[in-house]
Amino acid sequence: MDGKEVHAMNEASLHAYVDGQLGDDEAAEVAQWLLDHPEDARRVLAWRGQRAALQGLHAQLLDEPLPPRLLQALKAPPPQAVAANAPRYRLQALAGVAILGLGLALGWGSHAWLRAERPAPLTAAVPAFVRDAAIAHAVYLPERRHPVEVGAEQQEHLVQWLSKRLGQPLRVPALQAEGYRLIGGRLLPAGEDEGADAALARAQFMYEDEHGGRLTLYVSVVPPAQAVPTAFRFSREERGGRSFYWVDGRLGYALTGPLSQQQLSLLGSRVYEQLQPAPK
């Protein structure tokens, strides 16, 4: 940021950040601001939660067959019949043949269409879940009293419960050998890019070393379209650290902490190894 200090963040930029309407540079600037301003970060996180929850409302309508009368309404009358108040029975009479075709098209293609039709996020460089991971990291990192919802002592229960909510079996990697102990985890609202059917929750696990340095591992169910295994990547460095992230199966992972790329990738690969199914 060229040593320039941002003294106040424009409200509109925070909204645009939530809505994915900023370019990479501006988004990075806002992300940086959020790392330093937990109150704004909390609001941003709440708005993202709101956005995701709204997107989930009546999402079942997207997969439901349309009522026949709506399909009939689409059937064009012959040109000479176009009148400001064309009675509906005329449309209905014309609809018969079309319905079959429309029905087939809908039944067959709707899933593919609907998925493909979702507008692509405007800032595609870093997956949304990684940005969410950075925000969640910034929000909970400084918490001294309640850094986690459920402590490590209830780990088994936590893992079962989170697995159920995420709809994916989850494992919590141990990083003691690397000097980090698990202090617990929490459930977070999903960001904006979930498919309608995707789980609504994401999980954050927090680790701490003996000097109080903290790492978070953020786990998110990714929509099927994005669930292609990705190479390990780093996000841009922020003051609160950077993220080392990857997608494996239906889950996206982001490990975030104030560490060098080398340290982070070492820890990340330890996490990755432990997530692999045990050899038989």
Binding site: H15, W47, L57, A76, L102, L162, G185
Partner: protein
């Protein structure tokens, strides 16, 4: 023929109408009216040159038709709040949706309690994922107005949800038990 092109947009438009009106039957009426209006005006519709791609332009056009019809309806009825909720349909929810049921109804109520203008902006931006400029065009408003409405709508919704029973906040934390 643009009406065939409109077909893939219908499920989303239907949901938009559902969230806008807060009622299943009203929603389908609104969508039907929108489609009939589209049918009459189809010959006049041309995507703006240099604008978004044809598909996005068509969706925006349908949304703007729906917006105008929605406004007219409300004007006719002088109705400022839809109080009737479509609870009868909640039995259609599959068992897997049940844990989320309370959250859903609370959010739906909070959404319905927003002024219609705030609800429209919020839905176009959050659910339809339109850019601010595109939302402004659909609503025929300046972008600045869209932004200020969006900002107020988000805060208002957040406060309304906080009035809801604890544990039902969309952006809040959930206690793991």
């Amino acid at each position: 023929m643009i009406l065939d092109e409109a077909l893939p947009h219908l499920p989303r438009l239907r949901r938009h109408a559902r969230l806008l009106t807060g009622d299943a039957a009203r929603a389908d009426d609104l969508l039907q009216d929108t489609l009939e209006r589209a049918l009459l005006k189809a010959a006049l519709w041309r995507p703006e040159r240099g604008g978004p791609d044809r598909d996005a332009a068509l969706r925006a056009w349908l949304l703007s038709l729906m917006h105008k019809l929605f406004l007219n309806q409300r004007r006719d009825e002088r109705q400022h709040l839809y109080e009737e909720f479509d609870e009868a349909r909640s039995d259609e929810l599959q068992p897997s949706h049940e844990p989320a049921l309370h959250l859903r109804l609370d959010l739906e109520r909070a959404l319905a309690a927003l002024p219609a203008a705030a609800r429209e902006v919020l839905l176009l931006v959050c659910v339809e994922e339109l850019s601010y400029e595109a939302a402004a065009q659909v609503l025929e408003l300046p972008v600045g107005t869209v932004m200020s409405r969006l900002s107020r709508a988000r805060e208002r919704l957040r406060l309304l949800m906080q009035g809801a029973p604890a544990g039902a906040r969309p952006g809040g934390l959930r206690v793991v038990k």
